[in-house]
Symmetry: C2
Subunit: 447 residues, 2 copies
C-alpha cells in the first residue's frame, strides 16, 4: 500500500507517524511545499519576542527523525493537482524545478491554510507581514529586530493579532491594533471583548476599532497605514485578519467543500472522494453539538487528533474523530480568555431556544491571598437546561476550568447535573462553590 | 413550621440561609455549642501563618447577619439529646448553665466532627493542639506566637497535617512530621506520597514514617514526643490524625450510622428517622460510583451543597444531593495534589476489574517557559474502559484539570470518550495533547 500525504505540519505528520507505528510495511510519502516540518505554529507569537528564543524549540520532530522512521519526506515539493481517477498527484520539486508524478492508494490532504491578505493599494510594499508559518515567523523576527522598527500596526484583533500585540509590547514596541469591527475577539462574547479592551489599553496598546484599512503607503517599505477614518505612521505592519484553506489546487476535483474552500470530512476523516482523506486546518470538521460537518475550526489540537484517526483507518482499524465543539483559549497579557461550545447567536441560528447567565466570582477562596475575579457566561437550552456553551475570562483559573464545561457539554449534561458534580476544592485553588457551579446554580431547570 | 438545626458552621448555616430565602414564614432555630458560626475551616492552616491575617476573613457571614435574616441563632447552646417521638431536643445553655427544651417539626443535624486524640500517656499536657475549629485555630495561633516555640511535632501526615506543616515552615518553625504508616497522604497513591516526600524534605520538614506516638512527656507543658522508635524534643505538638463525627449525643436514637458514628443519609439528605435530616462532616454521603450511602467524606463543598438540598426539601421542593465521588485537592508547598473517584484498592474491593495507567507530561507546551512536570494516574474498568478515578500531582495545572476527570467519571465516560473531547488549548496553558488525554490515550478500549 502506497499512502501519499500532502503537507508536513501537524495533521500530515501525525498521520505519517501514527501510521508508521501501526504498520511498518506501508509505503508513506509526504510532500511538503516548504522546508519546515512538524512545528508548533501556536508558539510563533512567543518566538517573536524571544520568550521562546530558538526556532528549533518549536520543532516537535525533525525531518531526519521522520526519515529514520522510514517515512519518505520530500520537502520543497508542492502538490499542483490531484487526479482521483488515476490516483495520482502531480507536484513541483522546487529544488530542481521539475514536475514529478506520485501514485497513491490512499491520499491524505493536510495542506493547512494561508493568511487572507488585504487587497488594498500598496499591499506589495515591503514590511507588511503575516504570521502563519514558521517561515513567516523567521522573517518577521528578523524584520522586528532591525534598528528603527519601533511602531507597528497589527491589522486584525483576533487570536493571532492579540497574541502578537502582546509579544510586541514585551519587545518594547509601540503597538497599534486596527480592527474593522467594533470590538476585538469577535468569536467571543461582547463582555469578553470589553474586558480585553481594558487589558490592552492598560498595557499601552493603541486600539482603533471600527476602522478598515484602505491603503498602505510608503517608498518601497511601508510607512503609513490609511484607514477609512485615519492614517498612522508605522515602521512595520502585521496582517492577522484570518486564514483560508490551501485547497485551490483541488478545484478540478468533485470534492465537497465549504464556501471558503475547507474540505468537508466525516467522522472517519474521509472526504467525499473515495480514498482521499483530509485533516488539519484545511478541513471542515464534524460539530458534535450541531451534528453537522460544517465547522471550520483551524486549531492544532484537532489536526493532531484527526491525523491519528486517518492513520488508524488506513491501517484497517475503525476509528472516528468525534468532532469539535468550539473550545479555545488564549492569553492576552495577564488575562486567560476561553470559550467552549455554542454562543447565543450560533444556538439561535440553529433553532435552539437558548439563554445566557452571567456571574462574577473569585478564582479561589475570597480569604486566600491574590484571589482574582472571573467572569463566566453560560449559554444553555431554555427548554431542557442542557449546557450549550460558555465564555470565561479572568487572570487565573480560566484555562482549565473551561474544559470542565467542554466535558459536561459533550456529555449532554444539564445545568443541574453540573451543579451536582463533586469537584476537588481547597482554598488556594477555588472557592467552596466552584465559580462555574455558582453560574450553573443560577439556571433554573424544570424537573 | 418549626425547623431546628443543630450546628452553625457550613451545613447548618447553608440550610438556614437557603430555607429563609425559600420561605420567610418558617421558624428557624439554630443551636451552636460554641461561639463561632459560618466560618471557612479549610482556611485555618493559612490563618496560623498570617497568610490570612485576621480571623474575621474566614467568616462567611456573621451571627448578626443571620439574626437580621430572621434566623434564631443561639450560640453557646449544646444539644444534649434528641427525643424523636416527642420531637424535642434538650440543650445546655452554657451561658446560664440551664437546660432548655426545643420542639421541632423538622430537625437538621449538622454537628460536624471532633478531632480524634491519641489515647497516650501525657495526653493531658499543655501544648498539645488540634486544628478542627476556629477556636482551635485561635488558640493554636496564640500558642505558636509565644517566644521559644521553635520546634513543633505534627502528628499525622494527612491533608491537615501537611497543610499545617507547610504553614509552620513559612513561620520559620522547625517541623517534624510523625506518621505511623510508611507514607504520607495515604488516601492518595504511593506515587503521590513519594513525590510529596521529596517536596517536604526539600522544604526542611523532618519526616518520620513508620512511627507511632506512644507517649508525651513534659513538666505541665509538653517537651518530648516518644514514639515506638525514637524520642523528639519539641516545644509544641499538633495532632492531626483524623476526625470522628459529633454524633455521640444521638446514641439513644434508632438512627442508622456507620461504625465511626457518621449518620447514613439518602440523596434527599434524610436520615433513617422521619423528619430528621443531616448534612456536613457528621454524615455518610451517597457515593455516585459505588451507588451506596456509606461514604464518610468530611469536606466543606459537600456540607454546603447538602445543606441547600435539605432546605429545598423542607420547603417542599424535591431536591437531591447526587453524591460524592471522592474528589479532593491540596497544596503542599509548590505542589498541587489531587484525586477524584476510586483508587485501585477501592475498585477491587467493590469487585470492579480495575487497572491503572501512569504517565508524566508537561503542564503546558514544552517550548513555553516554565513548563513543569505533571504525573497522572488513571484508574479504569478493564472490561469496558470506563474511567473510575485519578491521581494527579505537579507544580501547576493540576487543581482544575482533576475536575475535568470528575466530570467525565460522573458522566460515565470511557477512556476513549475522554480522549475525543475538544479541549481548549494554547501554549501557555497546555501541550497540544492535554496531559490527561495523553493518559487516556494509553488505555486501549475494546470496541
Amino acid at each position: 500500500m502506497n499512502v501519499l500525504i500532502i503537507g508536513a505540519v501537524a495533521a500530515g505528520m501525525s498521520t505519517a507517524s501514527k501510521l508508521r507505528r501501526l504498520d511498518d510495511s506501508i509505503k508513506i510519502t509526504v510532500l511538503e511545499k516548504g522546508r519546515d516540518v512538524s512545528y508548533g505554529a501556536c508558539g510563533l507569537p512567543y518566538f517573536l519576542s524571544d520568550l521562546i528564543p530558538k526556532e528549533k524549540q518549536l520543532i516537535a520532530r525533525t525531518e531526519e527523525q521522520f526519515i529514520e522512521q522510514g517515512i519518505n519526506l520530500l520537502i520543497n515539493h508542492e502538490a499542483l493537482n490531484v487526479n482521483h481517477i488515476d490516483k495520482t498527484v502531480e507536484a513541483m520539486n522546487h529544488e530542481t524545478g521539475e514536475k514529478v508524478l506520485f501514485h497513491y492508494d490512499k491520499l491524505v490532504i493536510a495542506t493547512g491554510t494561508s493568511p487572507i491578505r488585504l487587497p488594498v493599494k500598496g499591499k506589495e510594499l515591503k514590511g507588511i507581514h503575516t504570521l502563519n508559518s514558521l517561515e513567516d515567523g523567521r522573517n518577521l523576527k528578523i524584520a522586528l529586530n532591525q534598528p528603527n522598527i519601533k511602531r507597528i500596526a497589527v491589522v486584525g484583533g483576533g487570536y493571532i493579532g492579540l497574541e502578537v500585540a502582546e509579544n510586541l509590547v514585551e519587545m518594547g514596541k509601540e503597538v497599534i491594533v486596527i480592527e474593522r469591527e467594533n470590538r476585538v475577539l469577535t468569536k467571543f462574547s461582547k463582555l469578553v471583548s470589553t474586558i480585553t479592551h481594558e487589558e490592552l489599553l492598560k498595557h499601552g496598546v493603541v486600539l482603533n476599532l471600527n476602522e478598515t484599512v484602505t491603503a498602505y503607503e510608503g517608498d518601497a517599505f511601508v510607512s503609513k497605514v490609511i484607514t477609512n477614518d485615519a492614517s498612522y505612521q508605522v515602521d512595520l505592519v502585521i496582517e492577522a485578519i484570518g486564514v483560508r484553506p490551501n485547497t485551490k489546487f483541488l478545484d478540478n476535483l468533485p470534492l465537497e467543500r465549504l464556501k471558503n474552500g475547507a474540505i468537508v470530512t466525516n467522522k472517519r476523516m474521509e472526504t467525499s472522494i473515495k480514498d482521499i482523506y483530509a485533516a488539519g486546518d484545511c478541513v471542515a470538521y464534524y460539530h458534535r453539538i450541531l451534528k453537522n460537518s460544517q465547522s471550520f475550526v483551524p486549531l492544532g489540537t484537532h489536526a493532531n487528533k484527526a491525523g491519528r484517526v486517518i492513520a488508524e483507518n488506513i491501517a484497517g482499524l475503525n476509528s472516528t474523530f468525534e468532532g469539535v465543539i468550539g473550545s479555545s483559549v488564549l492569553k492576552v497579557f495577564d488575562l486567560e480568555i476561553a470559550r467552549t461550545g455554542l454562543d447565543l447567536e450560533e444556538a439561535t441560528l440553529h433553532n435552539i431556544h437558548a439563554n445566557r447567565v452571567h456571574i462574577t466570582a473569585k478564582d479561589r477562596a475570597g480569604y486566600y491571598p491574590d484571589a482574582t475575579k472571573i467572569d463566566i457566561e453560560i449559554i444553555y437550552n431554555e427548554v431542557n437546561c442542557q449546557l450549550l456553551g460558555a465564555f470565561m475570562i479572568g487572570k487565573k483559573g480560566v484555562a482549565h476550568r473551561i474544559n470542565t464545561l467542554a466535558t459536561a457539554i459533550s456529555a449532554g449534561m444539564t445545568a443541574e447535573d453540573y451543579s451536582a458534580l463533586d469537584y476537588a476544592y481547597a482554598p488556594p485553588f477555588s472557592p467552596v462553590y466552584d465559580p462555574v457551579q455558582v453560574a450553573t446554580n443560577q439556571i433554573k431547570c424544570k424537573k
